[in-house]
């Protein structure tokens, strides 16, 4: 982890339906810096704007006020430059493309040659441990496998940043824990910066270097909790440091709820 800034969010407000009766202030006065190579989780009760914040970073939404910089340029430029990959809870694989073709889609859109594409998609399948599934259709895969393909697709063009919106939210608990280990492995192998939106306290504690706790209506940064569990493995889940981190996050969330 170096000290270069990956994401810099300065005094950002996000208002939906501005100046209308159904106006909603989703985010208010957000300041957040994320370093390159960092794994940061965004957690908070529903309506706290964590998904909105993720979309501001990805330039899928524009801030009403303030600025978002990604790798020292505007979020828009970062999107155009394909600096990040994105993974949703809904795997978002296209039914009509085989697994390898799904992984190759972003490469295709950016004019990679066919040979380069298939080399890369095989590398990615190896990375997510699905080396033999390239010729399958997504619907023939289990939910966990689909999500792995989705991660492989997001990483296929080697972005420096991975934006994940509750990617494991629809998976069963065992698969979910397994995917967390896989994600950490990939994160370590690739050195990618990760911004991870989640509902789950243990998930955020287990995965992150830092956990950003957001309070709702309007969404604001309540607290930022540093977590240092060193190199994580299945046994980390029984580690007292892990419980301590989870407890700290839980207390912050309780405080947020009492605020309401």
């Amino acid at each position: 982890m170096n000290e270069k800034s990956a994401i810099s969010i300065n005094s950002v407000d996000k208002v939906f339906n501005e100046a209308r009766e159904d106006e909603v202030i989703a985010l208010s006065n957000i300041d957040l810096d994320i370093k390159e190579g960092e794994f940061v989780s965004l957690i908070g009760p529903s309506g706290c704007g964590k998904s909105t914040l993720l979309r501001l970073i990805g330039d899928l939404l524009e801030p009403t006020k303030g600025s978002v910089e990604v790798f020292g340029k505007s979020a828009h430029q970062a999107r155009v430059d394909q600096d990040y990959g994105m993974v949703f809870q809904h795997a978002g694989l296209f039914d009509w493309r085989r697994v390898s073709a799904n992984i190759e889609l972003p490469l295709e859109l950016h004019g990679w040659s066919k040979a380069d594409r298939s080399t890369r998609s095989q590398e990615m399948l190896d990375l997510v441990k699905l080396p033999d599934f390239g010729s399958y259709y997504p619907r023939q895969l289990s939910g966990g496998m689909q999500q792995r393909v989705s991660i492989a697709r997001a990483l296929s063009f080697k972005p420096k940043l991975l934006l994940m919106d509750e990617p494991f939210g629809a998976l069963d608990e065992m698969t979910r824990e397994h995917m967390q280990i896989e994600l950490l492995r990939i994160w370590e192998e690739t050195g990618t910066t990760v911004v991870f939106v989640t509902h789950s306290i243990p998930e955020s504690a287990f995965l992150s270097n830092r956990v950003v706790v957001l309070s709702p209506r309007p969404g604001q940064v309540h607290s930022v909790i540093d977590v240092d569990l060193g190199k994580r493995s299945e046994s980390t889940r029984q580690d007292s440091n892990f419980f301590a981190a989870a407890t700290e996050i839980r207390e912050a969330l309780r405080a947020v709820e009492e605020q309401e």
């Binding site: 999107r79 994105m86 978002g92 009509w96 859109l109």
Partner: protein, 266 residues
Amino acid sequence: MNIVKLKSRVSIIWPPLVIGIGILALWEGAVVLFEIQEFLLPKPSSIWTELQNNWEILRHASWETGKMALGGLAIGIVAGVTFAFFATLFRFLNEGLTPLAVAVNATPIVALAPIFNAWFGVTGSVSNQLVVATVVFFPVFINTAKGLTEVHVNEIELMRSYAAGDWTILKEVRIPNALPFFANALRVVAPLSVIAAIVAEYFGGPQDRVGYVITSNAGLARYDVAWAAIAVASAFGLSLFVGALLIERVSTPWKSAVQLEETTKK
């Protein structure tokens, strides 16, 4: 894989085949046993005989009617798909077109056919093809529009994260997403086009057509010939349905791959 495929295909074909033959046998037996007059219900064997006797007339008639059905099918599909694209691109058009399309769909063909005949004449093919096209239009329009618009929001966001524009999203997401919807519509309208063509022929037009062969022979109590014509029409409608299925298989291979897996799992 191939043996599994073959087995599943055989298991799909034999139940309707056995039931079909059983029904024909019961029918034949009932007519003979209860001495039902041929002018009330002809035997399948008499229908088969008349099918052979009138084969040239019926073959020619189904060719002529088939041209009406296929022509109308083509017009209806092109119109339905075009309107679906416009409705997708411009929301206000969608809001205006959908109720209009529903109204068109609610109009029975039996009401349209005489009106179209009066407008476009009965001697040409315009009137009948337009009747067919009107029937075909609605399911194609509604289904295709649905397929083009009902795309998961994450899929659009994903494409935008790749800096893809509207055109790329249309080409890579909306159109492939609409294909199964369109194929569904095609399966419905393909046999429907034959029905519409025949009903349109009840209201006049050239007499070398299936609709006329059915009505005129029924009018003379030659029901065996009328049934033979109905059988030919059914076969034609069925072949269009099978054609639509094949198009669906070829155009949406991911669907059949998943379906096959599901049937073999059982």
